[in-house]
Structure formats: structure tokens, C-alpha cells
């Protein structure tokens, strides 16, 4: 008997309770307690998730009896299990309806006469069949019209379930009372697609279990880290409120049992991201970055929204359990449009071309936020979503290819841009964009398991890197305080984030330094760290998918792997090794335990997180994910050779990085886009922001003013005022002729006379 799975809503409720408590009582308990309250909530959520995961593992069953155990397990009437399509899943998909959210277009009883009626007949219930159809057609109208003509002695509505006996008038008998479905047919008027009922529900399968663990686990660590990182911020309470709200929203996203529930989380995490990026709102730049993130995300959300409308129009439902098994029913334009629209949504949330521009700016938020939202969880929502709705993509190879191409292009371009960055967080930000591109490449190749696998390992090591970066910034600030002088900010980058001021931090902050090193190597894909396994898996799957496009994408992936190793090696060398390049770096100090313990935990996960042996121990990947996402057997390729090639690319990148930055003291003068045209273009981030500004933002702002000042005040209002003024002027003018002035009347007489003469000419020429 499962005890924890029915408690699934509690996982959601805990962080939400944290939000409510912090809003209501946060002011009274103070910032420090607020932090621990929030952390405790997420901690409990994590523990519960673990328990649920273990319990879910125990639900494994033979395919034949699929679902029955879950039915027994959940006595709640809202719960039921749904059998997924595909190769006999071993675990049941558990869905639990929480409440009916929206209901529209309910079925109405239609009255049809069971036998023909004659004039003077009396209808009683036995003579009528009450048929349940979506709507009553003309009956409502009929009763209205008849009441006017007093055809009904009882003056009672027709068709109203015939509760009372009704005397039938002749009109009705002529119509034979069957003026229902068979006589009146649609005439080019769009027909309603039945009952629209939408529930808020949760869905549990291995995919959501994995996401659940990642979100609550990494979220918990980052909460702990934040209590240290934000210890001196006066607005901690607000920070932790947002953070808890984010965890809640993200859980809604991954646990939602329908497109619309997913979308709720989808938008809410965007809102949390907006709030957290602009957390230090006194700075205009932070607020703008938050706004940019929200609006760019909304552009993607629009595509998602339209995609949902399209799906609903075809399926009459948005529940995963209704839509996904029937995905193959989509044909023609809708088959390709629906996944492409969803991809549009994913490019916004997961920062892919063309909507990736918000993510680098999002680094304006507190660093733990970058780690949690903009590296580990929210930005991977696009990958999760595509994996979740993969039957739609499987149904449209064109859309799949689009996903892969978007991912490949993003991976390569972001990696290139990352090469020249000097801001420690920006390197990581572009790295995140690039790695997300990797995941897209994977899901675009049908390798959903590999994509989600990389999602998880990336969550570990990228969260580690961001938290490490935050810890190093902390160390730099500490050092600057010690040294009594702040290094100068170059190119508008704060000194504590500028890698040009760092160097040799491995010695100054060993715990942070070593874990940062582990994270970096995992990102570079060094055997046997987590990144190696997942990246290797992706490259393998892309190549295995076959075809010229995917072979080219394999090359792109390999090149990106090389570039990733290059910029990671560069970052590690600049930050951790060499001589300190500023007093702040020389005197930097280690961060408190609350910050370094999460780093150590994440470092351990980054080391072991990808080991194939874990799967055998019960970890939710990759076989168990395959249970949801489809098993994928790669044949005909030598895995070892491919792994060696990938490792070679990673090592070559690291080697080149050493040759450029480790061999001798790096030349700081050549950084930040000062090493030739190519580096300038990359430093300028390919001028995409500028292009968007010229193409979209500036015209929008200018047209807004024109619309307001010229069109609205001038034309539309001018037309109205013009009519008013001309009427007024006509009144004023004619009033003078009636003002009692003799000559006015005289002139009227004269003109009248002239008109009369003229009329005589016309009438009698």
C-alpha cells in the first residue's frame, strides 16, 4: 500500500505554504528565520519526493496487470491510472485530479418526441426521449417564439424536460416536435466542439519523478546556499518568498497532467524569474533585465498558447492522457504546426535561437537564482516539455528536425560567444545556452532519454558552477574588503565578477576552488564525470539517427564539445590557477559552510551523477525514463570509438586552453573583444541584441508615440472633435443670422430671392 504517493499534492503545498507564511508572518520572524523557514519547506518537499520516488519504484509490475495496482493503491476517487501507448510500460502513470478548473459548453438535454404528436395532444414525460447532446439547437428559440403567439395554454416553455404536461399547439405538431438534431443542420457556422472541461491534476511517471527530485533536491541545496549567500541582504524575506514561489511553480510545471496545467507552471516560473532577476530593483539594469526576460518569454508563451488552442480544437481536450495517445491522429498542417508552436514556446523558456537573448542578461539576479532558475531548472523546462509531449514530435519528423537544428545552432553560437567573455557569470550563462542547445539537439533526434539525462547532469554541474562562481565572488568581495581597495571595474563589469581580476583562487578558497574545478571538468565532458556520460549519449544518438542533417549536427555537436572544453578550460585557468591579478584575489577568503556544503554535495553528484552503474542501483535513468519516453536501442555504432572521439575533442579543447592561458601569463589586453575582428564580433554577442533593438524595440516605441499623439489624439479623436467643432461652428454661424440683426434677415431674403429665381431657371428653362 503506497503511503507517500497520495501525498503528492503536499510536495506542491509545502513551498506554497512557505510563500503564504512568509507573506503573512515574514515581517515578524525576520530575515534569518524566513530563510530557514523557506529552506525547511523545500527540504521537506525533497524528502517527500524521495519517498515518493522510492515508492513509485516499487510499483513496477508486469505489463499485463498494468494499472490495477495503482487503482487499488489510490482510494481517492479523483485518482486513476492511465495506460500509455507504446511498448508496454512497466510502471503505471498515475493521474490525480485535484479540482475542476474550467467547465464550459456543458451537455444539454435535448427533447425529442418518441412518437408523432397530433394537435391537442398533451405531452408528458413518457412521450419524450431526453437525449444528451451538446446543445439543444432550436428548442430554446422555439419556446420563445411560441410564447409570443400564445400557442401554449400553459404558456410553459417547450422542451424544458417536460416536467409539467403541456398542451400541444398546431405549430408544434406540424414540426413534429423533432426540431432537434435531424432537421436543423449546421450551415457553415462553426460547430462547437463538445463539452470543455479542464481539471487541475497531477501526473506521476518517471519523467516527473526525475524532475521532482532534481527540482526539490537542487532547490533544497540552493536554499541552503542562499541562507549564507544572502545573509546580509535586508530583503531576504522577499527573496525567499520568491524562491519558494518558484519551486512551487516549477513543480506545477513538471507535475501538471495537462498542457494547461503545465502552462500555468510555465508562466509562473517566468513571473518568478522576472521578480528574481530584478530582485535588486534599485538598479535600472536589473529591472530591465527582468522585464526583458519576461517579455521574451511571453513571446514564446504566445506560440505555446496558440499551440494549445490548435490541440484543443483537434482533440477537445488538453489532458496529456487524452491528447498524447491520439497524437498520430493529427495530420496535415496541424501535425507540423502544433509541435512547431510548442517549440516556439520552448525556445523562449529554454533560451534557444531566436529567443535566447534574455538569458545572459538574466545574470543580473542573485547568483543562487542564476544557479537554480537560469541553469538547473526553469530553462530546462523546454526540454522537459518536448520530452513530455514527444508523441506530437514523433508524429512530425519536420518539427523534430527543426528542434535539432535550433538546438545545434544555439549550442554552437553560444559556445563561440562564451569564448571571449570575461565575466565569470556570463561565461556560464552562454555555456548554459549552449548546453540547452545540446539538449534540444538530443530531443530533436528523438533521443528524449539522452536529452533529459543531460538535463539532469547539467543541473548538477551547472548549479555547482554557478554556486561556485557566487562563492568565488563572495571570496573576492571578502578579499577586497581585506585589502581595503576595490579593483577598478573594466568594461562595466563589476570587479568581483571579472575574471581578469582573479587568478590563483584555488589556493585562497580551496573548498570552493576544488568543487568549481570538478564542475568545470564535468561541463567539459571529462571521463568519468557526469557531463561525459550524458554528452556522449547525445552525440551517439544524434549520429545514430542517421541522415545527412543529423550527421552534420553530429559534427556541430563535436565542435561544440571542443569549444565547451576550450572556454571551460580558459575559465578554470583564469580563475583558479596562475598568480592573483588583483589585491582582492590575493587576499580572497573562503565562504561559510552554509555555502560550501551544497557545493560539495553537488560536486559529488557531478562526479557520480552520470555513472551507468547508478541505474542498476535504482536511479531514475535511463532505463526507467525509457519507460515513459520510449526505449531507444542504438545499433551499428561502436560506442567505445565514439566515446573516445568525444573525449578527444574535450581533451583537445582543454589542451588548447592550457596552451593559450595556462602556459604563460595571459595577456589581459587582448580580452573583451580586443583580439581582432572575430573576437570583437563575439564580444558584441553577434550584435543580436542591437539587431532586435533596431528591428523590433525601437520601431515599437516610436510607433507607440505616433499612434498616441498622431493617430489617437489627431485622427481618431480629431475626427470626433472635428465633427463636434464643425457642428458647433455651424451653430455659431447660423445663430448670427438669427440674432435679430436686420441686415442678416435682409441678406436671407436676398439669397432666398436669388435661389427662387435660379430655381425658376431650373424648373422652367
Amino acid at each position: 500500500m503506497p503511503t507517500f504517493i497520495p501525498l503528492l499534492p503536499l510536495v506542491l503545498a509545502l513551498p506554497l505554504a512557505g510563500v503564504v507564511l512568509l507573506v503573512l508572518f515574514g515581517g515578524r520572524i525576520g530575515g534569518r528565520a524566513s530563510g530557514w523557514l523557506a529552506t525547511t519547506m523545500v527540504g521537506f518537499a525533497f524528502l517527500l519526493s524521495l519517498a515518493i520516488a522510492f515508492e513509485y519504484e516499487g510499483l513496477r509490475e508486469a505489463p499485463a496487470s498494468s494499472g490495477t495496482e495503482a487503482d487499488h493503491a489510490l482510494d481517492d476517487e479523483g485518482s486513476h491510472s492511465v495506460e500509455e501507448h507504446g511498448a508496454s510500460p512497466e510502471w503505471p502513470v498515475i493521474e490525480r485530479k485535484l479540482w475542476r478548473w474550467m467547465r464550459v459548453n456543458r451537455s444539454l438535454p435535448l427533447v425529442v418526441a418518441a412518437e408523432p404528436l397530433a394537435v391537442g395532444d398533451t405531452i408528458d414525460e413518457t412521450m419524450l426521449d431526453i437525449v444528451d447532446v451538446p446543445y439543444t439547437d432550436a428548442l430554446g428559440i422555439l419556446d420563445l417564439s411560441i410564447s409570443v403567439h400564445r400557442m401554449w395554454s400553459a404558456d410553459q416553455a417547450l422542451g424544458l424536460v417536460a416536467r409539467d404536461a403541456i398542451e400541444v399547439g398546431e405549430v408544434l405538431s406540424d414540426m413534429n416536435v423533432s426540431a432537434g438534431a435531424d432537421q436543423i443542420r449546421p450551415l457553415g457556422i462553426p460547430e462547437a466542439v463538445g463539452d470543455f472541461s479542464l481539471d487541475v491534476g497531477l501526473r506521476l511517471d518517471w519523467l516527473s519523478v526525475l524532475m521532482l527530485l532534481v527540482i526539490t533536491g537542487v532547490g533544497f541545496l540552493i536554499h541552503i546556499y542562499s541562507t549564507g549567500y544572502m545573509a546580509h541582504d535586508p530583503d531576504r524575506r522577499r527573496y525567499f518568498t520568491y524562491l519558494n514561489l518558484f519551486v512551487f511553480s516549477m513543480l506545477v510545471l513538471v507535475l501538471g497532467s495537462s498542457f494547461l496545467t503545465l502552462f500555468v507552471g510555465w508562466e509562473l516560473v517566468g513571473a518568478c524569474s522576472y521578480l528574481l532577476i530584478g530582485f535588486w530593483h534599485r538598479s535600472e539594469a536589473n529591472a530591465s533585465a527582468g522585464r526583458k526576460a519576461f517579455i521574451v518569454n511571453r513571446i514564446g508563451d504566445l506560440a505555446f498558447l496558440v499551440g494549445m488552442m490548435l490541440l484543443w480544437t483537434h482533440f477537445g481536450s488538453l489532458a496529456f492522457g487524452d491528447v498524447l495517445p491520439r497524437a498520430a491522429e493529427l495530420t496535415g498542417l496541424a501535425a507540423i504546426a502544433a509541435p512547431l508552436l510548442l517549440l516556439g514556446g520552448a525556445t523562449g523558456k529554454s533560451a534557444q535561437i531566436p529567443l535566447y537573448v534574455w538569458l545572459p542578461d538574466a545574470m543580473a539576479g542573485p547568483t543562487p537564482v542564476s544557479a537554480l532558475i537560469h541553469a538547473a531548472t526553469m530553462v530546462t523546462a523546454g526540454v522537459y516539455m518536448i520530452a513530455r509531449v514527444h508523441p506530437l514530435f514523433d508524429n512530425a519528423p519536420g518539427a523534430m528536425a527543426a528542434v535539432a537544428v535550433v538546438g545545434g545552432a544555439t549550442a554552437l553560437i553560444a559556445a563561440l560567444i562564451a569564448l571571449v567573455q570575461v565575466d565569470i557569470k556570463r561565461v556560464l550563462a552562454y555555456s548554459t545556452v549552449s548546453q540547452l542547445g545540446y539538449m534540444f539537439m538530443a530531443v530533436g533526434s528523438g533521443a528524449y532519454v539522452a536529452g533529459v539525462f543531460h538535463l539532469m547532469t547539467h543541473a548538477f554541474f551547472k548549479a555547482l558552477l554557478f554556486l561556485g562562481a557566487g562563492s568565488l565572488m563572495h571570496a573576492m568581495e571578502h578579499g577586497a574588503e581585506h585589502a581595503g581597495e576595490h579593483p577598478e571595474a573594466l568594461d562595466g563589469i563589476p570587479y568581483e565578477q571579472d575574471m581578469r581580476h582573479m587568478g590563483g583562487l584555488l589556493r585562497r578558497a580551496p573548498r570552493t576552488g576544488w568543487t568549481f574545478l570538478i564542475g568545470g571538468l564535468a561541463l567539459a565532458g571529462v571521463f568519468p564525470l557526469a557531463g561525459f556520460w550524458s554528452k556522449d549519449e547525445i552525440l551517439l544518438e544524434v549520429l545514430a539517427h542517421g541522415g545527412g542533417l543529423y550527421t552534420a549536427l553530429y559534427a556541430v555537436g563535436l565542435l561544440t564539445a571542443f569549444l565547451t572544453a576550450l572556454y571551460t578550460g580558459r575559465q578554470l585557468l583564469l580563475v583558479l590557477f596562475g598568480e592573483p591579478r588583483s589585491e582582492a584575489a590575493a587576499q580572497a577568503g573562503e565562504s561559510p559552510l552554509s555555502m560550501t556544503v551544497p557545493l560539495i554535495v553537488l560536486a559529488v553528484l557531478s562526479i557520480v551523477g552520470g555513472l551507468p552503474v547508478l541505474s542498476a542501483l535504482g536511479a531514475p535513468f535511463p532505463e526507467r525514463l525509457g519507460d515513459v519516453l520510449g526505449h531507444h536501442a542504438v545499433e551499428g555504432l561502436d560506442k567505445i570509438v565514439l566515446a573516445l572521439i568525444a573525449s578527444a575533442a574535450a581533451l583537445a579543447g582543454l589542451g588548447l586552453a592550457w596552451w593559450m592561458y595556462g602556459r604563460r601569463v595571459p595577456d589581459l589586453g587582448l580580452m573583451a573583444g580586443r583580439a581582432g575582428a572575430a573576437s570583437r564580433v563575439l564580444w558584441g554577442k553577434l550584435y543580436v541584441d542591437e539587431a532586435y533593438h533596431i528591428l523590433f524595440v525601437a520601431p515599437f516605441v516610436r510607433i507607440a508615440r505616433v499612434l498616441w499623439k498622431f493617430v489617437d489624439n489627431g485622427l481618431v479623436d480629431g475626427a470626433v472633435n472635428g465633427v463636434g467643432r464643425s457642428l458647433l461652428a455651424a451653430g455659431q454661424w447660423s445663430r448670427r443670422w438669427q440674432g435679430g440683426r436686420v441686415r442678416g434677415y435682409g441678406l436671407s431674403i436676398l439669397l432666398g430671392a436669388a435661389l427662387m429665381v435660379a430655381w425658376l431657371f431650373v424648373a422652367a428653362p
Binding site: G739, G740, R741, V742, R743, G746, L747, L750
Partner: protein, 102 residues
């Protein structure tokens, strides 16, 4: 050509009538307006006499006789009004006389 056709007479009176009307419409001095009214009457009178001559009928002249009488009465009343206006307003601008009382 030893006589003037009726049309020429009428054209002359039309012109004269127009000049009188112009005086009525364009001038503000009430005296000149009254004189212009007389001018218009005069134009009509000439037209009547010319028509009488052209048709050889005496009635046209009789009409003129009557209209002269009416003109005399009109001038008498009109001037009385002017005097009354002048007394009450101290001015005799036609545009000042735009209300029926006071």
C-alpha cells in the same frame, strides 16, 4: 432706333435695384439704409412706369402713385423709429438694434 425697348429699361431698373439692395445690406448707418430702401422702391417704380409705357396701359402709373404714397408712409414711420431708437440707444447703427425690447 428712336425708342428704347422694354428690356433695356428693365435692365436699368435691375441694376438700380441691386445698388439699393447693396446699400441696405452693406451699410450700417440707418439713415443710409432707409435711403437705400427708397432707392429700391424707386427702381421698381421706374420698372412699372416703363412697363406701362411699353404696354400703353395707365395702370402701371397708378401703381407707382400708390407705391409713392406707401413710400411716404414708410419713410414717416421709419424715421420715427430712427428717432425713437436714437433716443433710447444714442446710436443709429442698424446692428445695434438686434433685440425686440430695451
Amino acid at each position: 432706333m428712336n425708342a428704347v425697348p422694354l428690356g433695356h429699361w428693365l435692365l436699368l431698373t435691375t441694376a438700380l435695384f441691386g445698388v439699393g439692395a447693396a446699400g441696405v445690406l452693406l451699410r450700417r448707418n440707418v439713415m443710409i439704409v432707409l435711403m437705400s430702401v427708397e432707392l429700391m422702391l424707386n427702381a421698381v417704380n421706374i420698372a412699372l412706369v416703363a412697363a406701362a409705357r411699353a404696354h400703353g396701359q395707365i395702370e402701371g402709373q397708378l401703381f407707382v402713385f400708390f407705391s409713392l404714397t406707401v413710400a411716404a408712409a414708410e419713410v414717416a414711420v421709419g424715421l420715427a423709429l430712427v428717432v425713437a431708437i436714437w433716443r433710447s440707444l444714442g446710436r443709429t447703427d442698424v446692428d445695434d438694434v438686434s433685440v425686440m425690447h430695451g
